[in-house]
């Protein structure tokens, strides 16, 4: 009985958001906005964020809750990206990397960082059981601030990344110079009428989701989700709960690192400094909107949430702009209101049983 009303509540939350999305689409059509363009950018945005939202899954499943500290992984991914660009610069004339090769190298370089940081972060979260979300949020804020210093002092020499004067790397680093911008988006991309489908990007996301699906059905994956859903049951079954939580945290961090590189190639730039500050909130909001709670998440929650939340983001801004054309910054403001409102709404729904 109790269980049914709980399910119904979650479904209601999703229904409301879905209805909101549809309402926005109807408004977009009524306002004669370029609908094909909206769909094109929705697809791109869904692909961009797919892996970052997927990073929430191992965190929730292993019991640490939505990973508000995925900025740690994001920073590792950025570090990998910078290292790859630096390598390309240092080896200029000796080895010429293809854009795809360079993208792969960026991912490979980000992995050791992500693994190491993930283990440490998992260790920390095991010591603050019960308040992971709060700690994670501030770990995320802290690392972004610490990395601001690092971006200034790390010994990167590549002039594409450096400020023209002074030291440190730029706020945004263009990937177009090395051919990495929209690398995945353009792979096998095709048009349906006016709509552009970023095939490579969507395939990459699909592959990541498939690998996660396989992992969750492995022995380790089963042990991890058991540890997350009932730690006392897990201990009684001989599972070391803390180790499973660390595995979940590492996976989430690694997906954050890979996810930011996929995001960046689509965006065309690596965003440093303030860039990663609020990215975790988007990922958290998306998975919660998809129907996950802070304790339970599935792959379908990730997919539904990514489509709904990022779809809303893409469509809502021009619709809001159409109503408030005279204020030019309204689009950004409305985007923030919608994003944070949705997070707030999702967290009230996710509060637990």
């Amino acid at each position: 009985m109790q269980d049914k009303s709980f399910l119904k509540d979650m479904d209601l939350a999703r229904l409301i958001i879905a209805a909101f999305f549809i309402l926005l689409c109807v408004a977009a059509i009524a306002l004669r906005l370029d609908f094909a363009e909206l769909i094109t950018s929705s697809l791109a945005r869904i692909g961009m964020w797919g892996v970052l939202v997927l990073a929430m899954l191992p965190a929730i499943v292993s019991g640490i809750g939505p990973n508000f500290g995925v900025s740690l992984g994001i920073v590792c991914g950025l570090l990998g990206g910078l290292t790859a660009l630096e390598l390309a610069y240092r080896l200029e004339g000796i080895v010429a990397f293809s854009p795809g090769m360079l993208f792969f190298i960026a991912m490979v370089f980000s992995l050791p960082f992500a693994l190491l940081v993930g283990v440490g972060y998992g260790w920390l979260l095991n010591r603050v059981k019960g308040s992971e979300m709060m700690i994670a949020t501030y770990v995320g804020f802290s690392i972004v601030s610490i990395m601001k210093l690092a971006w200034v002092f790390l010994p990167f020499k590549n002039p594409e990344m450096a400020w023209p004067i002074g030291r440190g790397v730029r706020v945004q680093i263009a990937l177009a110079n090395r051919g990495m911008a929209q690398l995945l988006n353009n792979f096998l991309a095709f048009r349906i009428g006016e709509v552009v489908v970023p095939t490579g990007l969507l395939l990459t996301v699909a592959l990541a989701i498939f690998l996660m699906w396989l992992f969750l059905r492995s022995r380790t994956g089963m042990a991890m989700s058991t540890a997350g859903s009932n730690p006392r049951f897990a201990e009684a079954s001989g599972i070391t709960v803390n180790r499973q939580r660390i595995i979940g945290t590492v996976l989430s961090t690694v997906l954050g690192a890979v996810g930011i590189l996929i995001y960046s190639q689509s965006y065309g730039f690596l965003q440093l400094y303030e860039g990663p500050m609020f990215m975790p909130f988007v990922a958290v909001a998306a998975v919660l909107i998809g129907g996950a709670s802070v304790k339970k998440a599935t792959i379908s929650h990730v997919i539904i949430g990514t489509v709904l939340f990022l779809g809303i983001q893409v469509v809502a801004v021009p619709v809001a702009n159409a109503f408030t054309a005279e204020w030019s910054s309204m689009g950004e403001i409305s985007r923030k209101i919608i994003q944070n409102g949705v997070i707030l709404y999702a967290l009230t729904q996710a509060g637990g049983e």
Partner: protein
Amino acid sequence: MAVEPVLRMKGISKSYYGTKVLDSVNLSIMPGEVHGIVGENGAGKSTLMNILFGMNVIHSTGGFEGSIEIAGQPVQIKSPLQAMALGIGMVHQEFMLLPNYSVTENIKLNREVLKPNLASRIFGPRLQSLDYDKMYADARKALKRLNIDIDEYATIAGLPVGYMQFTEIARELDKEHLRILVFDEPTAVLAESEAAHLLEAIKEIAAAGIAVLFITHRLNEIMEVCDNITVLRDGRHVVTKASKDTNVIELAELMVGRSMEFAGRKQHYSHKGRPILEIKQLTVDMPGERVRGVDLTAYEGEILGIGGLAGQGKIGIANGIMGLFPAAGDVKVAGTPLPLNNPSASIAAGLAFVSEDRRGVGLLLNSSIEVNIASGAMFGKKEFIKTWGPFSQVDQAAVRENAQKLIGELDIRCTGPRQLVRQLSGGNQQKVCIARALTMNPKILLVSEPTRGIDVGAKQLVLDTLRRLNEELGMTIVVTSSELAELRSICSRIAIITDGRVAGILKPDDSDVNFGLLMAGQPISKGA
């Protein structure tokens, strides 16, 4: 009769969700009488007191039947506040004290003595100050009636538990209109000398004309202090006797009684296999169920029962052996020493556990039946997994097949192996727990409180299942249960745990007296 009873409860009946927990209980107490109430766990003692106290749990579950009279006047007690106003006081089993307040402040809490000051003269009585001198004097007086030397200025935190108990009694005594004082197992946490002191205090209180209701498991205390004794069993009023007309042995017998049919019990439990589980000096630090040094051996192929009252430590034994709570001592499984505090080692040694905390430890409520059943073997024994080098995948087909087999064998009522466990009834959830343990193919099956929280029909099915496993597969089973009757219906031997130790090992057909005595902490030789 010249004097009117101060309290009369007539025909009290109460059901929780269709289960009758009290059935026409009568109780009547004179002023100055000490009246004892005895019964096993679940006999209905607490429910009766909750009714007397107008606790919300009673009214939110549909109220009760019967009538209550205080000093001859029929009353409807709707809330604890009203009960207090009627002069009913209660000394709780768990202390209801504020640890950072002084003894006096706790005694006078919410009944503080006030004196006017400047602010209160201007702004009204809510701003009056506390008259500490008067309060200390009152507290002193109440403590004095108990003949105990507690510093009324001391803070509660850090006081010995006995002193906390006396503070709580003093608080009740300090109430001016106190007519009836209820003691709910007051000696459970006290040392022997403190308990003796408390019994003295109870006599003093009664001598002052206050009626005392005394609830306890300890029969000798009841015999010492009470004028009359009421025995409850399974919610029924068995008898009320003057204590001079009865004795400990008779009470023990009345308290335990035989409430279950013994049909089909194994007759030949004399044969013993080799020792398969040897426990020596086991201590387990399980809050509320502390084990203080248990020596116990289970023989291959038997069903060993572990019984005793709640809080005495019987639950801790299996939990300690399975590594779920910190344990120390020597445990051997089939002659091999078992490393303690390591659940994996216990599972690897061939032990499987059906926890008393079914919903907390025993099940993954939000997972399917098939996953629950397979999980023990999956994690403990790496079964139901296909591996390719470092990669592995769950063998869905094997998981499904195993679940379907056990659903059939144990008759688990469900829509199919994919149904979520949380949607099942208590009895069927218990069968899933058993199925999970069986899938691990254990040498020894440890089962705790197998019938807790499931309805009567399902109880019998679960017990039959255990017996069948024992008879058909020769499985050694150690059953821990608060329900003596069910232990007696399936076990070959029953160890009674009292105060964290084995008080004695009995056969199921031993007399009720012996069971009652062991559970009440009395040596058998004394009476029998």
